[in-house]
Symmetry: C2
Subunit: 277 residues, 2 copies
């Protein structure tokens, strides 16, 4: 059945942290852990697309999400194989038609280097193509936001051990569905996007009734990606930029910032929040 | 005198913050400020190079630093004019020879999207070309690090008003020389690099006896840029990655992380730190 066709994927997850020794401010040695940072060059139908620097926790999801969010591949069913090899730092992606690399040429020449941590590229003009979210009546109780923040706080994270990474969470009103950490914000959100793509959640209504949490700042490309994933509520531990807010308004996205410890600020879309529950 | 030749520069600094209204977790409105995030497309000798998203505090320095750190221009004296116009979101750079845009073609096809917040691109293989720092006997007292952290804490920053930005500081053992904030870490460090270039501090020994402070994480490209600027001590409020540490070792850079409130960790190069003073 065509609908069920999924690409063949490697499973090249690698250890996210390595031990190290540092000196404290008194010159005393102490043990620490450092997050890994690996180069991964994506080849699409044998054409070099980009090199991402990643923690490597879910490289296949990262590559899928990158290809999807940069609109280099429209349909996951076009992908035959995705093979990550850390020995050569390569993610080799092949499509059934075998011509995806060539079609990317024009797009590759129009990259925007955005303000995000992480990959921070956007091909073409994503904003012009942005479809505003459909309001399906989804509402979120204040207590649901608090509960999600508490679940996030309790996660066993690379951040707790090492620092210097960002985390993203996809959740519904009950629980966390996916949690990914990476060196940069954009890698983490792309990995979630790749996981949603694998599960068949793409296109219109894909992220319906979901919440997206990130530790990172809400710059324009983070907000664009959330709207493109069809997720109505974006929550950050940090704040947003003026342009991030503009895009949230344009896209009908509920934007919550400064969210931690039973506090948050609603920058846009407060009609989806029930402050009484 | 050739040595004194400087490019003609516009002065297109723009207001970094805009006022806004948010709701708190109880649904109560409160005033806030948001950092601006503006697109700036760099044209080099009429050829489109990249679009950066920036706070716009010092766009000319940002563009200069970007061209320098990506090794698109080797000598600032080659640049005739750099004109930023926010009306059209363009930074137009022209060189005396007028052929810099063409020479960038090959480099543009080999971009690495790095893990940094901010622009996060590197043209070509920066690591291979990295020249280790020359040890000129520069030593830093622990009290100097503490004093710098205190000066940074007292700065009047966009971060204090808005959050969601990163800051960088260039200092000597006495005082802060430059302070730049931007949406992403790399924009801030590139802006400092541009300011140093304008002052004639480039090439070997450029950042000699200086300290560089950043609020951002020390991923590989941040460490590479610091070594390339010739600055022997890099201090971050955050931590480093495994690769960031590897590059610091390779480059002979003193790497200090988790620096705040009279505490810090020395990840590499502790021989430059005098823990007794």
């Amino acid at each position: 059945m065509l609908m069920e066709r999924r690409p063949f994927l490697s499973h090249a997850r690698c250890e996210p942290a390595v031990p190290g020794v540092v000196l404290d401010q008194n010159g005393q040695p102490m043990a620490t852990q450092l997050p890994g940072e690996r180069a991964l060059t994506i080849y699409l139908d044998k054409r070099e697309i980009v090199t991402l620097m990643t923690l490597g926790q879910n490289p296949e999801a990262l590559v899928l999400g990158y290809l999807r969010n940069q609109r280099l591949i429209d349909d996951i069913r076009d992908i035959a194989e995705l093979h990550v090899s850390w020995e050569v730092s390569v993610a080799a992606v092949s499509t059934y038609r075998g011509d995806a690399g060539e079609r990317c040429e024009d797009l590759l020449l129009r990259r925007t280097v955005t303000s995000g941590c992480g990959q921070g590229t956007q091909f073409g003009n994503a904003l012009e193509r942005l479809q505003p979210l459909h309001d399906d009546g989804f509402r979120v109780a204040r207590s649901t936001v608090f509960a999600l923040l508490e679940q996030v706080r309790q996660l066993d994270t690379v951040y707790k051990r090492c620092g210097a990474v960002h985390g993203c969470v996809l959740a519904d009103s009950e629980r966390i569905l996916h949690h990914v950490e990476d060196i940069g914000r954009n890698n983490a959100v792309d990995s979630i996007s790749g996981l949603m793509w694998l599960e068949g959640r793409s296109g219109n209504g894909a992220g319906s009734r979901k919440l997206f949490y990130t530790t990172g700042r809400l710059t324009s490309e983070m907000v664009i990606k959330t709207v493109e994933m069809g997720i109505p509520v974006l929550i950050s531990r940090s704040g947003t930029t003026e342009r991030g807010l503009d895009i949230a308004r344009h896209g009908g996205l509920t934007l919550i910032g400064r969210a931690w410890n039973e506090r948050f600020l609603v920058f846009n879309g407060s009609e989806r929040i029930d402050f009484t529950k």
